[in-house]
């Protein structure tokens, strides 16, 4: 087994999370490997740093503040609670609806525009026909 594997075992050994056979193997290795034995001492030393850590108290009136928030939340109307809980989903759905409505309107508008252009052309055709009739009338007199 390489030293790397034993180094991982050292960490597990410190936590007393090592199997008996692994522990035996580790001890055998430590007898022969000065590097790993030194590493174990370093780890023990570093671990002591957590002994310095003292448990801190939360900020003042932690429970009072919490229970007030809970009461406020319970007073909230159901729709408002849903709005807060599903804020992101509602936003996504709204964007989707806007996109769909926008797309449908665009299609409708472009169809209308095309129809208008065609009818414009038709009107123009009729104007041209009338004009032609008027010119013929000037030359040959009004149609009989």
């Amino acid at each position: 087994m390489s030293c790397n594997k034993f180094r991982i075992l050292l960490s597990a050994y410190l936590d007393q999370e090592i199997a008996k056979d692994e522990e035996k193997e580790l001890f055998e290795h430590l007898k022969m490997c000065a590097g790993c034995a030194r590493e174990l001492e370093y780890l023990k030393q570093i671990r002591k740093i957590f002994l310095l850590k003292e448990r801190k108290e939360p900020e003042e009136f932690f429970e009072t503040r919490l229970f007030t928030r809970i009461k406020d939340k319970e007073k909230q109307p159901v729709w408002q609670a849903y709005l807060t809980a599903f804020k992101k989903s509602i936003f996504v759905v709204l964007i989707f609806i806007l996109l769909v409505v926008g797309f449908l309107n665009y299609k409708k508008f472009s169809y209308q525009r095309r129809t208008e252009v065609i009818s414009d052309l038709l009107i123009d055709g009729q104007v041209e026909e009338n004009f032609e009739g008027e010119v013929l009338a000037i030359y040959y007199g009004p149609p009989r």
């Binding site: 180094r7 991982i8 050292l10 960490s11 597990a12 936590d15 999370e17 370093y42 780890l43 030393q45 570093i46 671990r47 002591k48 740093i49 957590f50 002994l51 310095l52 850590k53 003292e54 448990r55 801190k56 108290e57 939360p58 900020e59 932690f62 429970e63 503040r65 919490l66 229970f67 928030r69 809970i70 939340k73």
Partner: protein, 191 residues
């Protein structure tokens, strides 16, 4: 104090007092875990409030497949990860380098026996230095080290909370300690 499963069962039936007892029982562990991961007391307080609000609203979904404390720690870790994700968009810098005086103080106190360290009155002065060391580590390492070293949880509990295999817990803790060892290399180096 009454056991968690009984308190949870009472709370699920609508007993508000049972919830108050759960908060009283777990608030220190919740707050200190968050503080150790986030490195800021105000932020830890806000997140701890959010955690208990979630417990209040989601207790119905707790089916007892794991212990209540495992479920609670999972909410704690998830909330911390959410906040850390949000934090990535903000510029927050924490002091992570030790000055000469801090190095000497640490070296001096850590050279003592474990029992003497626990009794040492200078512990209070060194709180910020310990947190500085934690803040210098990546978030994943801070979380596993907090659960192991501060909360004293087993590998099995950590694997359930973080939803990773036991092997991964072993490797993550090993790597976290390696990084902390590099950070604190002045402890065993002659300067």
């Amino acid at each position: 104090m009454e056991e968690d499963p009984k308190l949870v069962a009472r709370f699920k039936k609508g007993d508000q007092h049972a919830f108050e007892l759960l908060v009283r029982k777990h608030k220190m562990a919740v707050f200190n875990t968050i503080y150790s991961i986030m490195g800021n007391t105000q932020e830890a307080d806000d997140i701890a409030q959010e955690v208990f609000l979630k417990v209040y609203t989601k207790a119905g979904s707790f089916r007892g497949e794991s212990s209540f404390s495992t479920w609670l720690y999972r909410i704690v870790v998830n909330n911390c990860l959410d906040e850390l994700r949000k934090r990535k968009n903000k510029i927050i810098s924490y002091e992570t380098e030790f000055n000469q005086e801090e190095k000497l103080k640490l070296k001096d106190i850590l050279a003592r026996r474990e029992e003497d360290i626990i009794e040492d009155l200078r512990k209070k002065e060194l709180q910020d230095i310990v947190q500085k060391a934690m803040n210098s580590l990546p978030e994943k390492d801070r979380i596993v080290l907090t659960l192991k070293e501060i909360e004293g949880l087993s590998y099995n509990e950590i694997s359930q909370i973080m939803k990773i295999s036991l092997g991964k817990v072993k490797i993550w803790l090993f790597r976290a300690r390696q990084k902390l060892r590099e950070k604190l290399s002045f402890l065993y180096r002659e300067e």
